[in-house]
Each structure stands twice: as C-alpha cells, then as structure tokens.
C-alpha cells in the first residue's frame, strides 16, 4: 500500500505536499484564532475585502497585459510595470493643468476621461514602440534574451522618466466629486473604490468580449494557438502581436488612472512593485489565461488586505502588515503546490512549457 503510494508520487512531490499541508494548517489555525478572538467585527472584515478588491482590480488590469503577451509570445514583458507608470505619469501633467484652470472639479467625468485618453495614448505608444524596437528583432532568439531585454527596457523607461520629470513625488489633484462614501445595500464603500471596482469589471468584460467575439480577437487566439498555422491561414502575425501589446498597454493605462484615483501619488519608480505584483497575479491565475489574470489579481489584492489580519494576527505575530507581501507570496506557493499551472491554468502543452 505504502509502496504503491511511493511509486505513484516521487519524494519531491511528497515533500512539497507536506510543506503545503503545513502551510495550509498554519493558515487555517491562524484564521481560526483570529476569528474566535472576535477582535474584528463583520463590518471590518467587509472593509478589508473591499479595499482588497479595489487594489486587486488594479493588479488584475495590469496582469492582463502580462498574460496577453505571454499567451501569444511566451515571453514575460517585465517592462509592463513601466508602461503602466508612463501613461499615469504623463496624464498627471494634464490633470494638474486642468486643475489649475478649475476644469478638473467642474467636469470631473470629462476630466478623468481626458486623463484616461492621454494615459492610454502614451502607454499604448510606448508598449508598441517597445515591441517594435526591443522585442521584434529578438523574436527568434532564445527565450532568455527577450526577458533580459525587457528588464533593460524597464530600467530605460524608469530612468528616462526620472530624468525628464525629476525623482520627487507628484500628487494628482483631488476629485471632489469622488470624496466620501456611498451606502450600497447597507455597505459603506468609498466612492473612489466603488468607481474603480466597477470600471475595472467593465473593462475586463469588454476585453474578454474583444478576445472571444471579434475577428481581431479570434486572430489573436489563433496566433496564440499556433503561430505558423495562423500565418498560413492568412493572419498577419506581426499585426496581431502589435495589437496585443497595444491592448496590454491600454489596460495598463486604465489601471494607472485608477491607481491615481485611489492613491494620488505618482513617481518614476511607481511601476515596479505593482508590476511585480501583477505578474504574480498572472501566474497565480494561470499565465496566458485572461479570466485567470483577473481572478489572480483580485485574489492577490484581497489576500494582501485580509491576510495579515486574518492569519498573522491569530498566530500572534506583531505588526503583521509589514509582512503582507510574505503572506501574498505564501498564498502563491500554496496555490502552485496544489495547482502548478495556476488557479485557471490548463496543463501546459510541450510547446508552451
């Protein structure tokens, strides 16, 4: 019996499952301790979840860019965080201009849309130019080469923006119309967060529709499936790839404007951490899979917001919020032990793996 079991799973697998079981037990024990102590009320838990969802929808929108590009090129575009930063940073100048004329608060919806248009234009342009000059020439090269190029491009963009706009922190003007909170079904929810959550859901649904239902989306999926065959069927592969980068850039820019609404501060290095987190979210959800990226982003956001209070508080660890990244990555490890291809990932084929 035992021998059969050992045959079925090799030792590494067993050790991994063991680690997973221990971590899972810790998580469950910590949560039980916190919940039974009654320190936080139901409302507080709800607040944690809403904050997490708002942060998570930003991660999700950025993660879409990682996952789209990975799905088609099997490369990780590490400069994506900077694509996110560039649009937001540039739109800041429009925002303060509009604020100085008073337009920003007279017509908040138009202003935010204008900022969004500028951010999308800049981010999309940068994403597409990046593809053209940094990645396309390396299309046939070994996988590691474009990865390193992407890291280089990321630094290039960070320091270009730092050089152009200085290294200080810039602050978006407040949107008076979005101050305070709404009471939705008895739940107090901050206006900015409500807007961010709703807008990202709409954007994600629209993106899903685009990929699943339109002709361009079908071409994208065909290229993701098999580049050569798609080319033989008359699909312009280069164009589809440019399209993909543009789409990723646009969703990153949208994420950037949401980020600006919630957090206000922008600087040249703001893209790095959200970029890493969004990449994690994409892996968590199953990289290459669109709904997976959305789910992964939301999951990561909620874990970061909820985890320290829920798990670490119960384990008696002081100042748990300093460890929110640890708890987020612990969840990543747990998910990957039990589902190596992510929450929604299919088993990777030979080619993709």
């Amino acid at each position: 019996m035992l021998r059969n079991l050992l045959k079925k799973y090799d030792t590494t697998d067993l050790v991994m499952y063991l680690i997973g079981a221990v971590l899972a037990a810790l998580v469950i024990y910590g949560s039980y301790q916190t919940l039974s102590s009654g320190k936080y009320s139901g409302e507080v838990w709800l607040d944690f979840i809403i904050f997490g969802l708002a942060q998570g929808s930003i991660y999700a929108l950025i993660a879409l860019g990682y996952t789209l590009v990975y799905g088609i090129l099997f490369m990780i575009n590490f400069a994506h965080g900077e694509v996110f930063m560039s649009g937001t940073f540039t739109a800041y100048f429009l925002a303060i201009y509009l604020d100085s004329t008073g337009f920003w608060n007279q017509h908040p919806i138009i202003s935010i849309l204008l900022a969004l248009v500028v951010a999308v234009a800049v981010s999309t342009t940068i994403a597409v130019v990046l593809e053209r000059i940094a990645y396309r020439p390396l299309r046939g090269a070994p996988r590691l080469v474009p990865l390193i190029t992407a890291i280089g491009a990321s630094f290039f963009l960070q320091y270009t923006f730092r050089g152009l706009y200085g290294s200080g922190v810039k602050t978006y003007p407040d949107v008076d119309a979005l101050k305070g909170s709404w009471n939705i079904f008895g739940i107090e929810i901050l206006k900015t967060q409500a807007v961010v959550i709703v807008a990202s859901v709409i954007l994600m649904v629209a993106l899903r529709f685009y990929v699943q239902k339109t002709k361009a989306g079908r071409a994208m999926r065909a290229v993701a499936e098999d580049k050569e065959a798609a080319a033989l069927m008359g699909i312009d592969v280069d164009r589809v790839i440019v399209n993909t980068f543009a789409l990723g850039g646009a969703s990153a820019a949208a994420a950037g404007i949401m980020y600006a609404l919630i957090f206000k501060q922008v600087n040249a290095f703001m893209g790095f951490i959200p970029g890493i987190k969004a990449f994690t979210a994409a892996v968590l959800g199953g990289i290459g899979n669109l709904p997976g990226a959305m789910l992964g982003g939301l999951f990561l956001g909620v874990v970061e917001s909820l985890g320290p209070s829920l798990v670490l508080d119960g384990l008696g660890i002081p100042a748990p919020y300093q460890l929110k990244d640890a708890i987020a990555f612990l969840m990543l490890v747990l998910v990957l032990i039990f589902r190596p291809s992510g929450i929604m990932g299919e088993n990777l084929s030979e080619k993709k793996a």
């Binding site: 009320s41 201009y97 152009l164 706009y165 200080g168 919630i262 957090f263 501060q265 300093q322």
Partner: protein, 433 residues
C-alpha cells in the same frame, strides 16, 4: 519606408515627452530639479580636476595615529556630503546641502584655502548610505563628511567612514542608536537632536496638551521610525496612557487602508507615524477614509517636514501635528541665514535640517582651524585623530540651532523640539507656546 514611419513616430513621442517635462517644471513653480542638479554635477566633476593635488615638496612629520590630511598651498580644503538628493525624500537632502553651501559662502576660506564641496547621494536607505560612504571614504583628501539625512543610511555610513579615519557629522540623523554608547562609531557626531528628546516631547504634548489617553503608532522598519515610535510609546505609557497598537508598513507600500482599518478597531485618540514623505502621505490621505479614525488626531515627525508632504497628503494633512526642530531662529545668525538662503535660492528653506547642516559644517571648519598645522609655504596638515578629538571637544559654540556642545558619544545638539500644526498647507508652530 516602413522603418522611416516608425522612427518618425518614435521621435514625435520623445519630443512630446520632452515638451511635457519642460511644461511640468514650469507648473511646479519650484525649479528644484534643474536648480539642484547643477551643483551636484559641478561637485562630482570637480574631483577629476583636483585628482592630483601638487604634493608639498617636503612632507611634514605626521605623528597622528590615524594619519594626516595634507592640503598644498592654494589647493582647496575639501569636504564631502552624503545626503538624500534624489527620490521622494530629495527635499530633505537638498535642504541640508543648501545649509552647507551657505556655510561655505559665509566662511569663504579656511586658513587661506578655499573650500570645495563634493558629494554623493546617500538616498534614504542602508544600501544608499553604504555606497555613498564607501565612495567618499576612498577619497583621502576629504577632511570630513556632512551627512546622512536618514538614520538608516547613517548606520552603515558612520561605520565605514569611522573605519576610514574620517568624521561624519550628521545634520539630521535622529535615531538614538547612533549615539548609544553600545553602538556609537568613533567618527560620528550629529547636530540634530536625539529622538529620545523628540519622542518624549510628542508623547507629552499628546498626553498633556491634547488629552489623548490611547495611542497607536506605525513605523516603516527604518531605524529612525522604529526607535522614535518606541520612545514615544514608552513615554506615553509612563505618563499613564495606553498604546493600543504598534503597527508597521514597508517603504514603498501604497495601500494603507487595511493596516489603518486594523488600527481603527481600537479607536485610538492619537495616531503617531514618524515616517517619510511618500508613505506618510498615503497614511494621512487614507486615514480620513477609514471608519473609526474620523476623530483620531494624526501626528508625524521631522521626516515629513516638506512641501512635498503637504502636496502628497492633500487636504487630509490639514490640522495634523508634526514635531521637529525649532526653526524660528531668534539669533542674528539665524536671520542672516534665512536672508542668505532667500537671496541664493529664491525661496524659503525646504525642510527641517538646513540650519543643522550649517552648524555642522561650521563645527567642522572650527575644528580644522584648531588642529591644522601650517608650514612656511602655506601647506597645511590635519591630523585625523586630532581633528576627531577637536570635534568631540566642541563646546559652547554658538550656532543657529542653539549652543552646540558635543558629548563623548557625538550628540552635539541643543535640542529644541517644537510641535507644528499644518494650517493652510503651512507648518505653524503651536507648542511650546
């Protein structure tokens, strides 16, 4: 043909970015990047020119245990700075650097030698402090270094420069550990107050003046914030108050609502987060949105004294308390300094530690004048140990920040802590009355 299209496109985008940058600088009304970049560039280029100081013909006998610094006749005396001159906290460092620059202008020359300032960006981190100190330590012509701003950078920098036989005079490190007998480095002094004084002042103000009975703190893991909030917590408890939570965040965190929500459960009267500009801005802006913290009094410390902080926190900063050194200089010297600052940079000081940097630089010049040996040709020799002893022996020196007297562990400040309240975007002193 296709290529040309692409290149034109890329060029247009780059041009747009450059134009936006120029526009942006104007919008801000503080031409800080342009104005501050220039001296840094000049300062870093300068060493190349003076790389090979003409060695005096005859070396004078140097019997100092740590060796001597020799300056040939006509060569400048060189001092270094290791400050945070980039990133979110750049105003802290630029402010201190301006203090040193004015001190140099006022001093003119030391023993007939002009003074030259060179510097490194020490950032606000241990890595930054280590890198800056290592570079400065490799320059044997420096008589001393003014820096660092952040205590996190000061910890490695004080060790590296002390080992190299140089002195480090900090205008703004306030963490108690730096001058603690257990951990003090031989070449380290500071003109900034020790946070044992500042933490106590904040706790007393909160308990006695504001009537707070419960308090929570947040730090960011930096030695400055962690030690300062601990001093506060200890004194507040001694006074009879209760510390309901001591939380921590990471530098670089943006979403503070969860941590604030977990603090809000205790409904503290007073929330003290002596951290830095970016994270402090996030906490201030988000605290008002968390239910349970509406009536909590917010307070920070000198790491957040900067117009950048007020901009980052927005309207939420209105009414919050920020402790820091007393900047209402009564003395003639202080008034002269503010005038010189206005004349040289066209604006008021940016942050809290310009005067401390000015005093630190003058302390260094005074010590050099005391110990330097001059030969007939005008060459001077400065014993490193003698210089160090002279600095630690500084007593009764009248500076802008008060009467400066160093103790054996390098605490030189005449600490005068005030509590400011942010009113209409300005830091207005409200205590002591």
């Amino acid at each position: 043909m296709k290529n040309i299209k692409w290149i034109t496109f890329a060029l247009v985008v780059m041009l747009a970015l450059v134009l936006a940058a120029c526009g942006g600088a104007k919008e801000e009304a503080t031409p800080a990047p342009a104005a501050t970049e220039a001296p840094a560039a000049a300062a870093t280029e300068a060493p190349a020119a003076t790389e090979a100081p003409s060695q005096p013909a005859e070396e004078m006998a140097c019997d100092d245990p740590l060796g001597c610094i020799s300056v040939a006749a006509g060569d400048p005396i060189r001092i270094g700075y290791a400050l945070v001159v980039s990133g979110p906290n750049e105003t802290l460092g630029v402010d201190s650097r301006r203090g040193i620059e004015i001190a140099i202008d006022d001093k003119g020359e030391v023993l007939g030698h002009p003074i030259e300032l060179v510097g490194e960006d020490a950032l606000c981190s241990a890595e930054g402090g280590q890198a800056a100190a290592t570079k400065l330590a490799s320059d044997p012509t420096l008589i001393g270094v003014i820096g660092t701003n952040c205590s996190s950078a000061g910890e490695p920098a004080s060790a590296i420069l002390s080992d190299a036989g140089t002195v480090l005079v900090s205008p703004s490190n306030t963490a108690p550990s730096l001058t603690d007998p257990e951990t003090h480095q031989a070449g380290y002094l500071r003109t900034a107050h020790n946070d044992k004084v500042q933490g106590k002042a904040v706790a007393e103000y909160a308990y006695n003046e504001l009537g707070a009975r419960t308090a929570a703190t947040i730090h960011d893991g930096s030695p400055y914030a962690e030690q300062l909030q601990q001093v506060f917590a200890d004194v507040f408890t001694e006074l009879g108050g209760e510390i309901v939570a001591q939380e921590a965040v990471n530098a670089g965190d943006t979403d503070m609502r969860p941590v604030l929500t977990s603090i809000a459960v205790h409904k503290p009267d007073f929330l003290y987060y002596p951290i830095f500009i970016a994270e402090g801005g996030f906490i201030t802006a988000q605290a008002k949105e968390v239910s349970g913290l509406e009536d909590t009094i917010l307070a920070g410390s000198d790491g957040m004294i900067s117009p950048d902080f007020v901009a980052a926190a927005g309207d939420a900063a209105e009414g919050m308390y920020i402790s820091g050194p007393n900047l209402a200089f009564e003395s003639e010297l202080g008034k002269h300094f503010l005038e010189a600052h206005q004349a040289k940079y066209g604006e008021d000081p940016l942050s809290a530690f310009h005067a401390h940097a000015y005093d630190g630089a003058n302390m260094l010049f005074a010590a050099v004048e005391k110990v330097a040996v001059q030969d007939a040709d005008g060459n001077i020799y400065i014993g490193r140990q003698a210089l160090r002893d002279a600095l630690f022996a500084t007593a009764g020196m009248e500076g802008i920040t008060g009467t400066i007297t160093c103790d054996e562990y390098g605490d030189c400040a005449d600490p005068q802590i005030v509590i400011n309240q942010i009113q209409n975007g300005e830091y207005v002193p409200v205590w002591p009355k």
